[in-house]
């Protein structure tokens, strides 16, 4: 812990990442308290205050139907973070388990699992998600399913590669001769040795999931109006560029802050966790 704190202190960029991510998490968690117009998250129309530039009561201006952009961005963060958490919570355990099995058990398991993984990896991720969403209704849940489907193979390959290396280590054989079961060797001996890489990748990926989810909703495949979503807000605002620039610039900046923050933490974690061996 002390060492982590030391590295954090001597690594201002990581500290900035932690700051940005806590800002985003706070914004999402406390949206009800912070947002000046909580009701603007839904279908509200206020023709008196539409298209107001930033300033006054409206920190980031208002949109074409008079809703406060700042309030909507706060609520949009909720969707983004929910997306990141749900996608990673499903994709990582699946990907890691399959990777461990393929790497440790070898033979047919390795062949079968890794070929399926290769098929998924050979399709450009966004195209895969788009085609899945093309068949299904564009909702938040389906968006999550689509992104999850394109995400797990990366973890399978990451863990598979580490497992292949760790399998040759003496402690794996030592565990086998003391009579440990296959599941024990995989999850209790090898998995802990994969954790630094997995945690680092997860942090980096949290940002990328937000980015991909925003891309999907930018294309209209994802959360539907009136629920606020960063991607669809950028898409909507882009139509009014350059006159009402705030409509797309602020949601865009919001995406940037979240992705940037997670990336900085991920890079920092790589330094902190990778130092041991």
């Amino acid at each position: 812990m002390k060492r982590a704190a030391f590295i954090l202190a001597s690594n201002p960029l990581t500290l900035l990442g932690v700051l940005l991510v806590s800002l985003v998490v706070m914004a999402a968690a406390l949206a009800d308290v912070i947002a000046p117009f909580p009701e603007h998250r839904g279908a509200v129309v206020d023709f008196v205050n539409f298209n107001k530039p930033p300033g006054g009561d409206f920190l980031m201006g208002t949109d074409v139907v008079g809703r406060d952009l700042f309030s909507r961005i706060l609520y949009a963060y909720r969707i983004s973070l929910l997306m990141a958490v749900v996608v990673l919570a499903i994709a990582v355990p699946i990907g890691v388990t399959l990777g461990l099995m393929a790497g440790y058990m070898g033979g047919r398991w390795e062949y079968g699992l890794m070929r399926v993984t290769d098929v998924f990896l050979s399709i450009p991720p966004l195209v895969l998600a788009l085609s899945i969403l093309g068949v299904m209704k564009p909702t938040l849940l389906n968006g999550m399913i689509a992104v999850t489907a394109m995400w797990w193979p990366w973890y399978t390959r990451l863990v598979y590669n580490i497992t292949r290396g760790e399998k040759a280590e003496g402690y794996v054989l030592a565990a086998e001769v003391t009579g440990a079961s296959r599941a024990h060797v995989m999850f209790r001996e090898i998995l802990p040795n994969c954790m630094p890489a997995i945690v680092t990748k997860m942090t980096l990926d949290a940002g990328f999931v937000i980015l991909i989810a925003s891309s999907l909703s930018f294309l209209g495949l994802g959360v539907q109006a009136p629920t606020p979503d960063l991607g669809s807000m950028v898409a909507e605002g882009a139509r009014y560029l350059p006159d009402q620039w705030w409509l797309s610039v602020f949601p865009g900046l919001a995406i940037l802050i979240a992705v940037f923050g997670f990336n900085l933490i991920g890079d920092g974690l790589r330094d902190i966790l990778g130092g041991d061996r």
Partner: protein, 286 residues
């Protein structure tokens, strides 16, 4: 006196694309209870696979065919179910390895790994009991600062320390047979000598039989009661260690002994890769 481990006509072959390759051509070997037996040979002669067959690890590989009879403690290992064979590992037989540091999982402190070993014999052992028994086991290998060692990660301890931890773990469940696969080859010579000395005392105290696998003749001479010399999957000479060393009868044993480095220096003779004399029948010392 019946043997603890009795291997008769053990053959092992691997099925490959190009056909079947026989690796062991009928090994016979026996170890009495509490006896220290060495298996000596060059790299690739079949020492380590023999050990792994005894542990039942090779049998689980696809493409490996094992024949012959292996009796351990009155049971025929070939007839045991994989589950029953599995139950013997870590309880009735255990193993220590060449490189002690890499044989311990780098991400867990020693205590946790000790506890897992003890849990093989005593499922759901409490942490306090595991700590007490680990402390006791470490005391036997002359580690007196058990608390510090148990809280350490393997990479925080020296190689010699890890080696002693491995020995303590391997003997913690009071196995009947300990298989030592070139123990401490990765350590420097003085440390190796110390730990072997410790190990010899310990196995004598507990009455543990040892199958000692090595290419280091000096160590074998110090350690083993009886010696088997293995060459290309065949036992070429066997007998009490003193007799084998004093009067090597097989051409390969003689070549092996001649190739020992000496303190006085001098060039080492090369052992021929193959020699018709090496294929001579087995020499048995009474």
């Amino acid at each position: 006196m019946s043997a603890l481990l009795d291997i008769a006509d053990l053959r092992l072959s691997f099925r490959l694309w190009s056909g079947t390759v026989e690796v062991l051509h009928g090994i016979s070997l026996s170890i009495a209870k509490g006896e220290r037996v060495a298996l000596v040979g060059e790299s690739g002669s079949g020492k380590s696979v023999t050990a792994r067959i005894v542990l039942g690890l090779i049998q689980e590989l696809k493409g490996a065919t094992v024949s012959g009879r292996i009796r351990f403690d009155g049971q025929d290992l070939g007839r045991l179910s994989p589950r029953a064979r599995h139950a013997l590992r870590g309880t009735e037989m255990s193993m220590i390895f060449q490189d002690p540091t890499s044989s311990l999982n780098p991400v867990f402190p020693i205590l946790r790994q000790f506890r897992e070993v003890l849990a093989r014999r005593t499922p759901r052992i409490s942490e306090a009991e595991a700590r007490a028994r680990a402390t006791e086991a470490l005391r036997e290998v002359a580690i007196h600062e058990a608390d510090r060692v148990l809280a350490s990660y393997p990479f925080q301890l020296s190689g010699g320390m890890n080696q002693r931890v491995m020995i303590a773990m391997a003997l913690a469940n009071r196995p009947k047979l300990l298989i030592a696969d070139e123990p401490g080859t990765a350590l420097d010579v003085t440390v190796q000598a110390q730990t072997l000395d410790l190990m010899r005392k310990l196995v004598a105290d507990h009455g543990t039989a040892v199958l000692f696998i090595s290419h280091n003749l000096g160590v074998v001479r110090e350690f083993a009661d009886r010696t088997y010399v293995i060459y290309r999957g065949r036992i070429v000479e066997q007998g009490p260690t003193a007799a084998v060393f004093a009067d090597p009868r097989h051409a390969y044993t003689r070549a092996l002994l001649a190739a020992q480095p000496r303190l006085t220096g001098g060039a080492l003779p090369e052992i021929a890769e193959r020699d018709p004399a090496f294929e001579n029948p087995m020499e048995v010392h009474p």
